[in-house]
């Protein structure tokens, strides 16, 4: 018997090659090829609040916060080479600053959120600054420990409400503002970061990831660029934190909870590392899923983990890497 051996080949679609350079767009079909996936995401996110019930609308808001963190995580990990588990640090510093300004000085959220976003990211960047010399897993470990440090400082000194936290902060005027602020922020940061990674500064970031010694030899101060990258990621994260304290009308040490550091990784793994949009999509799937599994009580975590492990085993590239490949390439079996 003759065994025919075949192998799978993948080829880029012609339309993908043509649309890679913006100037080549000539037909409606090519424009649609470019625009449709982006439009689906934007419209999809903006329509969601209209069709969801009150409960799920709140879930959507917290999913948005995780999406911001996941985006920052993916940017730092895949485009700068810093595996940063400091999500809790960003949420905590942003949340505490806006909450404190609101509770003690009675400033409105319109003012506290921008201030907390900037102030929080300056503080978290300064805290992470000494660790920037570390590479790979060492940076990850230290950035993971820092939020715990903040928790113990707050407990030990019993400041800012201590373990109780501060409640009855100002909330947003209504649920629509609440949702569209975070969804707008997610969309805006996603497209901003996508642009940034292809600009000159983004290329330098990617150079640092690929080979920091060579970047040094090109006369570029890698520490200052790493600082800039961390600052960008912490702006995104601290906005999430500032928003969160007003969303729940409360601040406390659980703003430094480990969830904020870990869920973004899970979302990135599920959504597809390095795609930027993947982690966002992953966060919008994982957070509602975790809510939906609430009915299973303690088994919830087990199911959650099973789904994640399933993804790592069967689709290690992640959702968006898979979908993008299907969209951009066609496959066929070739006889060897």
């Amino acid at each position: 018997m003759v065994i025919e051996e075949t192998r799978r080949k993948r080829l880029d679609r012609g339309i993908k090659v043509r649309t890679e350079s913006l100037y080549a767009l000539s037909t409606w079909r090519e424009m649609a090829y470019m625009i449709l996936p982006r439009l689906t995401l934007i419209l999809g996110l903006f329509i969601l609040p209209l069709v969801l019930s009150m409960y799920w609308q709140r879930v959507l808001c917290s999913a948005g916060i995780y999406a911001l963190l996941a985006l920052g995580f993916d940017f730092l990990a895949e485009y700068v080479g810093l595996v940063c588990l400091g999500g809790a640090l960003f949420i905590g510093s942003g949340g505490y600053i806006s909450g404190i300004l609101n509770a003690y000085l009675d400033w409105p959220p319109m003012l506290t959120i921008p201030i907390a976003t900037l102030g929080g990211s300056v503080i978290s960047t300064l805290i992470l600054l000494p660790c920037l010399r570390l590479r790979g897993i060492y940076f990850a470990i230290v950035s993971f420990m820092l939020p715990l440090l903040a928790v113990y400082i707050i407990i030990a000194l019993n400041v800012f409400g201590g373990t109780e936290g501060i409640s009855a902060l100002d909330t947003f005027p209504n649920i629509w503002v609440e949702q569209y602020i975070i969804l707008g922020a997610v969309i805006f940061s996603l497209f901003a970061i996508r642009r940034l990674v292809n600009k000159d500064i983004g290329l330098i970031f990617r150079g640092i990831m690929d080979n920091d010694q060579a970047v040094k030899a090109s006369g570029i101060n890698i520490t200052s660029y790493k600082t800039k990258a961390v600052f960008i990621a912490s702006i995104i994260g601290c906005f999430g934190g500032a928003y969160l304290s007003h969303l729940y009308s409360w601040l406390g040490i659980s703003l430094f909870a480990m969830d904020f550091s870990i869920v973004p990784i899970a979302a990135s793994v599920m959504g597809g590392m390095g795609t930027l949009v993947g982690p966002v999509v992953g966060a919008f799937i994982l957070t509602p899923m975790s809510e939906a599994l609430r009915g299973f009580g303690q088994l919830r975590v087990v199911l959650y983990c099973l789904i994640l492990i399933g993804f790592i085993v069967y689709k290690p590239e992640g959702l968006m890497n898979y979908l993008q490949r299907k969209y951009h390439q066609f496959e066929y079996w070739e006889r060897v």
Binding site: L203, R206, N211, Q213, V215, K216, S218, I220
Partner: protein, 255 residues
């Protein structure tokens, strides 16, 4: 500053653990020359480059550039003064296309300063540099990602990254190793052109035949020390140099 000694190395030493990688090495690089540095494996040539360019801090001694002490400066600051280097083990930015690799040096403070911020289209500048160094534009080589480029192009990319810095000194760390004769033949005119433009070049090389076509002066290193210095042909005639390279027995057998 006279014509002599654009770069001066004075009694520089470095040990790693118990190994003295570089021992009291002194040398000077004259403006406009191509200086060759040769020596057997492990003789401290690459460490010397790392010491000059600030990637490794010396235990003793100093490096002067235009009579100004540059030892102790950070590597990126030394690069911005105009002393650039290639890496023996190539360090391309794998995920970027070849011409995007040059965007990094084109964004350095040095280039911004020397062009007064009017460099124009960086992509075009990068493309020109690559084309000059032998990346065939018609074959779309500059657009390929660095991870897919063969060795010959990666070596050239290392040099291109130095050229993009608009340097005064280029230190080439074994830029010919692993290349075919044909590939070297395309590199030699590039280096000659750089010399004509007044760029001082220091070449560390194992491919002696090709090196001697380019250099006017050569320094031989052995066990971290300078063994000999002079015109290539004369230096290679010396008994101690031949011994360092070939060993004593081989030499005596041939005689």
């Amino acid at each position: 500053m006279g014509d002599e000694g654009l770069l001066q190395v004075r009694d520089i030493s470095k040990s790693f653990g118990g190994v003295k990688a570089v021992k009291d090495v002194s040398l000077s690089l004259i403006k406009g020359e191509i200086l060759g540095i040769i020596g057997p494996n492990g003789s401290g040539k690459t460490t010397l480059v790392n010491l000059i360019t600030g990637f490794v801090k010396p235990d003793a001694g100093e490096v002067l550039f235009k009579d100004r002490k540059i030892t102790g400066l950070q590597a990126h600051k030394i690069a911005n003064l105009g002393i650039t280097r290639t890496f023996q083990i190539m360090r391309p930015y794998h995920s970027l296309s070849a011409f995007k690799n040059l965007i990094v040096p084109l964004n350095s403070p040095r280039v911004r300063r020397t062009t007064g911020g009017r460099l124009g289209d960086r992509d075009a500048v990068a493309m020109d540099i690559l084309e000059e160094i032998g990346f065939e534009r018609d074959a779309y080589v500059p657009y390929k990602t660095a991870s897919s480029l063969p060795l010959g192009y990666l070596k050239r990319l290392e040099l291109a990254r130095c050229i993009a810095m608009r340097p005064e000194i280029i230190i080439c760390d074994e830029i010919f190793s692993g290349l075919s004769m044909a590939e070297i033949a395309t590199m030699v005119p590039v280096l000659e052109k750089l010399e004509m433009e007044g760029i001082t070049i220091m070449m560390i090389e194992h491919r002696l035949r090709e090196l001697f076509r380019l250099v006017n002066r050569v320094i031989v290193m052995n066990f971290g020390e300078v063994l000999a210095e002079g015109i290539p042909r004369e230096v290679m005639e010396r008994q101690d140099v031949r011994e360092a390279y070939l060993g004593t027995e081989v030499d005596s057998v041939r005689d």
